[in-house]
């Protein structure tokens, strides 16, 4: 019994020493450890995601020919409408290129779109994130914006070999600048995720809303990205401003809540916009990692 107690005491001392060493270790070692455990779990995540895709495939395969024909007809109609829209956009694009040439405007925000399937979702009071089945091997870089259609989903926070973690718009670590629809002066507001309540729906906070801004009566106010900061392209939809009175936190500004444009936990597929050129944020991240 004494031997057992002595052994336990020695183990506690060893653990304390290990904790001290762990704290003093260079962050690269801890990062390597985290990366190793993430990579260990990656095959299981892929397997689960592919299993879900297979289930969906068989579910679709079991549909009747009539249903498929109806879906094909609807898609053909949508395609025709989109083709018409594309034609009208062609003139706008030519005019845009001409004006850019005249003003010698240099567009730095070029993105490569990488489509990725969602593997899992994970949410608590302090984070809301999804794991996607594309990673470093597919060219994804940390900080890249993640969208679905024209809707902002979030931002890539960690990239592994074949998977990436995406912080959603409602996650407390998410921040970006935005414009409110209906504000003719295009004043900038700030959007950042909020720590959510357990069992409650996740929201984001819109702050620095000018005091003289009022929501248009009877309609929802959409919130768009500004394109400033070089992370998100401009005019992407972040969500809508919650209707009702806005709270005034500071003297000249009001605060409101952002309702995400989509149900972020039901997404099956997202697009990651990987910047073709290195962004200032990435340069800073690289400097941080070197230090």
């Amino acid at each position: 019994m004494d031997q057992n107690r002595q052994g336990a005491r020695a183990s506690y001392i060893a653990l304390t020493i290990f904790v001290a060493i762990w704290i003093l270790l260079p962050s690269a070692v801890r990062r390597f450890n985290r990366e190793a455990f993430s990579e260990f779990q990656a095959p299981a995540l892929h397997l689960a995601g592919k299993g879900r895709d297979l289930a969906k495939f068989w579910e679709l395969k079991s549909r009747s020919n009539e249903e498929m024909a109806a879906a094909g007809r609807d898609l053909a109609r949508i395609n025709a409408a989109l083709e018409l829209k594309l034609k009208s956009m062609d003139d706008v694009r030519r005019e845009n290129v001409r004006l850019r040439d005249i003003t010698r405007y240099k567009d730095t925000a070029d993105y490569l779109s990488v489509v990725a399937r969602v593997a899992t979702r994970d949410s608590s009071s302090w984070w809301q994130r999804i794991v996607i089945r594309k990673g470093r091997n597919d060219g994804i870089r940390p900080g890249s914006p993640v969208i679905f259609g024209i809707t902002v989903v979030g931002r890539v926070t960690a990239v592994h070999l074949t998977t990436s973690e995406v912080d959603l718009v409602t996650s407390p670590s998410f921040r970006c600048t935005a414009y409110l629809e209906g504000d003719e002066q295009n004043r900038i507001v700030l959007v950042n995720g909020m720590a959510g309540n357990s069992l409650g729906s996740a929201r984001a906070r819109i702050s620095v809303i000018p005091y003289d801004y009022f929501q248009p009566a009877g309609q929802t106010t959409q919130v768009f990205t500004t394109g400033m900061g070089g992370v998100f392209p401009s005019r992407l939809l972040l969500g809508t401003l919650e209707s009702g009175p806005l709270s005034a936190k500071e003297a000249n500004f009001k605060e409101g809540q952002l309702i995400p444009a989509r149900d972020l936990y039901n997404l099956q597929e997202v697009s990651v916009l990987v910047p073709l050129h290195q962004t200032p944020g990435e340069a800073l991240l690289q400097t941080d990692q070197l230090q």
Partner: protein, 177 residues
């Protein structure tokens, strides 16, 4: 058997992954199905201390790897819990005690990661601390309940794995002095 803890970790991983998939379903409610604390109880009964500690630490690292929890916070806590459980096996002598230990260990581990994650998200300072306390209650209670519910099936798989590896069974009676 030196690598018994690693083989046991591989046997336990499907349960940890199943908990992650369950968390996927509850993501819209902001709940995490956490079972790591309960998974260390059965191995602590039969493995030696030096085997239980790396097993518990790896279980913690697996949970932390994909979540914004400070590195090692949960893993080192579980390692400490493993030392505690292997030092005082009276606490996990029979099934009711094991269930109690699973609930307590899971709830305490949940408290640790939740608090450290809140600290990392900057939600512990000043007035935010008062909104942190009510938020803590639901995940910790859920973890305690999950620990009890999940303990029996997880321990069945773990005991089967340990039987196959030839690890001697734990004594059910009181320990001799």
């Amino acid at each position: 058997m030196g690598w018994a803890w690693l083989i046991l970790l591989l046997a336990t991983y499907p349960w940890l992954f199943a908990a992650d998939l369950a968390s996927d379903f509850t993501a819209s409610s902001g709940l995490v199905i956490f079972i790591s604390g309960a998974c260390i109880v059965a191995p602590c009964r039969r493995l030696r201390r030096w085997q239980s500690v790396p097993f518990a630490a790896c279980v913690g690292f697996l949970f932390e790897a994909r979540r914004p929890i400070p590195d090692g916070a949960l893993a080192l806590f579980l390692a400490g819990a493993a030392i505690f459980l292997t030092s005082d096996k009276q606490l996990i002598r029979n099934t009711p005690r094991m269930l109690r230990a699973a609930a307590a260990s899971n709830a305490a581990a949940c408290l640790i990661w939740f608090t450290f994650a809140a600290g990392a998200a900057g939600q512990l300072g000043g007035a935010k601390f008062f909104s942190f306390i009510p938020q803590l209650i639901i995940p910790v209670v859920l973890a305690a309940v999950t620990g009890v519910v999940i303990y029996i099936p997880v321990s069945l798989v773990q005991n089967a794995a340990m039987d196959r590896m030839g690890i001697p069974p734990a004594s059910e009676g009181p320990e001799s002095p």
